[in-house]
């Protein structure tokens, strides 16, 4: 279809723009909120309108045939509708929503945002959705506190902001729809998509066992030391404990390997994203092989290291390379500019 001028599309765009601005002002971005009369909107559904039409038909029938009981049925249905307004509202009201823990992901995969729901009352059949988020439906009946993961496709590297959520409910009778918008200040990291490509040999530094350097390894037994909080329980010397009743941790010696460096320059001639993707692949590979490695990007580096925390540090560096540092709190105003900056950088 040729992209011509369509007044309807224009109007729709303008409406969306206007309503977005209005919603942002009315319901600013927050970390946690309790749904209340300020935040909940409610309108009859199409079913509710059918229901009212039928009720009107019965009412007219009751009047015309002078049948008090048919009239009574019609009035019962009207009352049902009216109490349903309150009950539909009540099904959202009092629901406390806050951000839970988010799971980062790679571009092309899904990122899981944690949404924490709590309430003092029962809530049933609550639908949560947003553009790009697979909709979920949940109940808060026995568990009044629940973490619900929301899966979102990660399309760009960087920080991914949870889009504005729509929390909706038609419970109990489906005659009315109550909904609320929630702009949760929740972000997840999106790492570059790993792309396998051989690392240039010229930059690969030597391998093999290096000199024994550290006491904090896991290779050879190296003696005992008194247990400290936080020691790996697997390394506790249970036999000793049985003997003298005191906790000791076994100490192992590790062999300090010669650190490898993953260099930005290794893939010279490629674009920023292409380099990041390849480096990402090798970060994961080295981590899986249990190698010691460092990561060096222009203006930033991660010193050689090992382990999960090191992996995360490296991946975060790759994810956020070239992006503005994360703004602090008070997101209501700058959120849009911030997001567009992320998007612009990511595309570059």
């Amino acid at each position: 279809m040729p992209a011509g001028f369509s007044p309807l599309a224009g109007l729709r765009r303008r409406w969306r723009h206007w309503s977005d601005a209005w919603l942002r002002k009315r319901l600013p971005r927050t970390r946690a909120t309790t749904l209340n009369q300020r935040r909940i909107f409610i309108l009859p559904t199409l079913h509710g309108l059918y229901f009212l039409v039928m009720t009107l038909a019965l009412f007219i029938g009751g009047i015309n045939y002078g049948n008090g009981l048919i009239l009574l049925v019609a009035l019962f249905l009207v009352s049902l509708f009216m109490s349903s307004i309150l009950l539909t509202y009540a099904n959202l009201a009092g629901l406390r929503l806050s951000r839970g823990s988010n799971q980062p992901g790679f571009v092309g995969q899904q990122v899981a945002f944690g949404l924490l729901l709590e309430s003092e009352r029962e809530h049933e059949s609550i639908a949560i959705g947003a553009p790009g988020v697979a909709g979920v439906k949940l109940d808060l009946i026995e568990q009044r506190r629940q973490q619900q993961p929301l899966l979102l496709d990660a399309k760009q590297r960087g920080r991914l902001q949870l889009p504005r959520l729509k929390i909706e409910s038609r419970y109990p009778l489906g005659l009315l729809r109550a909904w609320s918008w929630l702009e949760l200040d929740s972000r997840a990291l999106v790492y570059p998509k790993p792309i396998a490509e051989p690392y240039p040999q010229r930059l690969e530094s030597g391998s093999g066992r290096g000199q024994r350097l550290s006491h904090e390894g896991s290779d050879d037994f190296d003696g005992l030391r008194p247990y400290q909080g936080g020691d790996n329980p697997r390394q506790i010397a249970w036999k000793n404990y049985a003997r003298d009743g005191r906790l000791h941790s076994k100490r192992f010696a590790g062999y300090q390997q010669q650190a490898r460096w993953l260099e930005w320059e290794a893939y010279s001639g490629m674009g920023v994203e292409a380099r990041l993707s390849r480096l990402c692949h090798w970060v994961i590979q080295y981590h899986q092989q249990g190698l010691r490695f460092g990561l060096r990007l222009p203006g930033a580096e991660v010193a050689p290291g090992q382990g999960d925390l090191h992996l995360q540090r490296c991946l975060s560096l790759l994810a956020l390379y070239g992006l503005s540092p994360e703004p602090a709190t008070a997101l209501a105003e700058d959120s849009v500019a911030d997001l567009s900056a992320v998007a612009a950088e990511g595309r570059g």
Partner: protein, 677 residues
């Protein structure tokens, strides 16, 4: 709205099927058997589709079902309109929609139709029992609607039932308020219910067996409630007139003159004031009865009343033969006011020629009876004397009163008077009128009900179908129309004590309905139970059916000086608003939703306002504690206090408490109060 993979939740479907069966049950007794069978088949089909055994109907089968159903209904009733055919169609549609329902919208339509089917049941019956039963069905339909909107994981129908009961409980007070306060308006357009249903009751013609058949029915015909100031007439005066039959064809009595035509009737303000002239005299024992009649539907326009009756109820008119008439057939229980004055002389000034002629009509039959009439007339001194001779004749010859008269043929009156001599009220009335007319006395049969049982609980009369009766009115010079009941001269018990006593020996009272509680009037407690139950029903009818615009005005005028539409609207809106407020309080009573701001936040804001006066403002993203510490640095004289406050803020922040009286919060409050800024 149309989720492609939507399946009606198990829970919702279970309730939907239960509700469907429940809603159809009252109709099954009324509808033809094949409709019931199709409904059951549809229910089974839906169940099998749900369990994955069978397929749902495809398009041609659906079309076949819809057209076949419509055609079958048309073939059965001869029409598609009217309550019977219409409700059959509605019910078939309900079932067909159920089997093909897959989307949420389909299921919703089934639920809506369910409510409709429930409401339609009230066209045919409005008793307490049915109402209670249908209230249960309403619970099931509501549970089905709720089940459709619950999440699919829900498989506890009991919980669904409990919640739907709660929702209905919330709605009931509102419904009652609406029922009392919604302004009652008359019909928006006039409708006639179909009249092809067979109703027990009087018919326009009386042949010998008709009333005998009616007397086997224990159905209620009408109830009469006398006004507080009015006395109840004695049993021998309770002649409820309904019809006048003045034409005899040798076989049956019919209505010869059609006095019920609209232009012949004295409607309340159409100017047919002819009723005044035929009345005359201030009758000696002038007794007046004011009462209300609540009648069951008859599908006929005839109303019941003691002579001479007038009514001020809308739509009720009076005919030339002193009966009451409604301007349309009585298709639903109907209530009207009557005031009857006994003792007037009716048509004393003489009959108009056409009326005189009509009341002398006789076929050229029954020569023996004519001979008897001439003989008796020759012996009597006056018309009145003749009438009494005839009555004595019935009394003295061996006539007997029976519900099982032998069949008559040929010259029926002759046969009855001289051979069988066994008969029922219509036999006696017929023969009596024949004898009157044979000697030139204008006479006519009046059909209606005689008697009635007084219910001591409500002080009202119960008139049953077996009280149906036929008697005679004879026009005598100077006296006008005079009522005679020849049956009373044969069997005085029939008039004084009712049919049951009259039939005590024969044992034929309600012999076709062995289970009717009316048969056991000998047993005191059964009678007590029956009368109590009727009283309950009566109250129900009074409230449900009698609550019209007039009753509404009367009820409200007891509380308010002026009752108009504005008052109704104000009352309605304010009561509903109050109810909704109460309901929302009830729903939210145990939740902490009352939006009380966090007490810590309140304190922090207060401190911020005080610091702002010193020119200090929190930076974007600055935590409360660090802001207060920064303030401590720039306000050296309060540094120690502010440092302490900052620490206390952190303490409260990381051990949060919603309790206003939390000791840590209290300490912070004290510290803030002591702060001298």
């Amino acid at each position: 709205m149309n989720e492609p993979d939507y399946q009606i939740p198990r829970n919702g479907l279970a309730w939907l099927l239960a509700a469907m069966f429940g809603a159809l049950l009252p109709h099954m007794l009324r509808l033809p058997v094949w409709v019931t069978l199709i409904c059951l088949l549809c229910g089974v089909w839906k169940l099998m589709v749900y369990r994955g055994r069978w397929h749902g109907p495809n398009r041609p089968i659906r079309a076949l079902l819809v057209f076949g159903g419509g055609a079958a209904v048309f073939a059965h009733y001869g029409t598609l309109a009217g309550p019977d055919a219409g409700s059959a169609l509605l019910i078939l549609g309900f079932c067909f929609k159920l089997i093909e329902s897959r989307t949420r919208r389909d299921a919703f339509i089934v639920v809506i139709l369910g409510y409709f089917v429930v409401a339609v049941s009230f066209f045919f019956d409005q008793s307490i029992l049915l109402t209670l039963y249908l209230a249960l069905v309403c619970v099931m339909v509501t549970a089905a609607l709720l089940g459709l909107n619950q999440s699919v994981l829900h498989t506890r129908p009991r919980r669904t039932l409990r919640i739907s009961l709660r929702i209905m409980g919330y709605s009931l007070p509102m419904m009652l308020v609406l029922f009392v306060l919604v302004p009652r308006i008359g019909p928006i357009w006039s409708l006639d219910l179909g009249q092809n249903r067979a109703k027990t009751g009087l018919s326009e013609t009386i042949s010998a067996g008709d009333i005998a058949q009616l007397s086997q029915s224990s159905e209620l015909a009408f109830r009469v409630e006398f006004d507080p100031g009015s006395k109840v007439p004695p049993a021998s005066e309770r002649y409820w007139r309904a019809l006048v039959l003045d034409n005899y064809d040798g076989h049956r009595w019919t209505r010869g003159l059609d006095l019920d035509q609209r232009e012949q009737v004295d409607w309340q303000n159409n100017g047919n004031r002819w009723l005044t002239p035929p009345l005359s005299g201030s009758p000696t024992p002038l007794s007046r009865y004011d009462y209300q009649v609540m009648m069951e539907p008859t599908d006929q326009p005839w109303l019941f009343g003691l002579a001479w009756a007038r009514s001020d109820t809308r739509g009720v008119g009076a005919t030339r033969d002193f009966r009451l008439l409604l301007d349309k057939p009585v298709a639903r229980p109907f209530r009207y006011r009557v005031s009857s004055t006994i003792g007037y002389t009716l048509d004393a000034a003489g009959l108009p020629a056409w009326l005189h002629r009509a009341n002398l009509q006789l076929p050229d039959t029954d020569p023996l009876t004519r001979d008897l009439a001439q003989r008796l007339r020759r012996d009597s001194s006056s018309a009145a004397d003749y009438v009494h001779r005839v009555l004595r004749y019935f009394n003295q010859q061996d006539f007997s009163y029976t519900l099982r008269p032998p069949l008559l043929s040929g010259d029926r009156v002759d046969q009855f008077l001289f051979e069988s001599r066994r008969g029922f009220c219509s036999h006696y009335a017929g023969a009596f009128v024949f004898l009157m007319r044979a000697v030139g006395l204008p006479a006519r049969i009046v059909a209606g009900y005689q008697g009635g049982e007084l219910n001591p609980l409500g002080g009202y009369l119960l008139v049953h179908q077996f009280d149906a009766h036929a008697w005679v009115e004879v026009w005598l010079p100077q006296q006008g129309w005079v009522r005679f009941d020849p049956t009373a001269w044969v069997s005085p018990e029939r008039v004084e004590q009712g049919l049951e006593q009259a039939m005590a020996q024969e044992g034929s009272f309600l012999e076709d309905s062995p289970l009717s509680p009316l048969r056991y009037r000998g047993s005191a407690w059964i009678t007590q139970l029956r009368l109590s139950w009727d009283y309950l029903n009566y109250g129900w009818y009074r409230v449900m059916l009698g609550y019209d615009a007039k009753a509404q005005r009367e009820l409200l005028s007891r509380l308010f000086d002026r009752v108009d539409l504005k008052l109704l609207a104000t009352l309605l809106l304010s009561t509903i608003a109050a109810l909704l407020l109460g309901l929302s309080w009830w729903i939210f009573r145990q939740s902490g939703l009352r939006s009380r701001p966090d007490p810590l936040l309140k304190l922090y804001r207060k401190l911020c306002r005080r610091l702002a006066r010193k020119g200090l403002q929190p930076e974007v993203g600055e935590a409360p504690a660090s802001f207060v510490r920064r303030a401590a640095e720039s306000l050296p004289d309060q540094a120690v206090a502010l440092q302490r406050i900052a620490r206390q803020f952190e303490l409260c922040l990381y051990a949060p408490s919603a309790n206003e009286r939390d000791p840590q919060l209290q300490r912070l409050r004290v510290q803030l109060r002591r702060l001298a800024l």
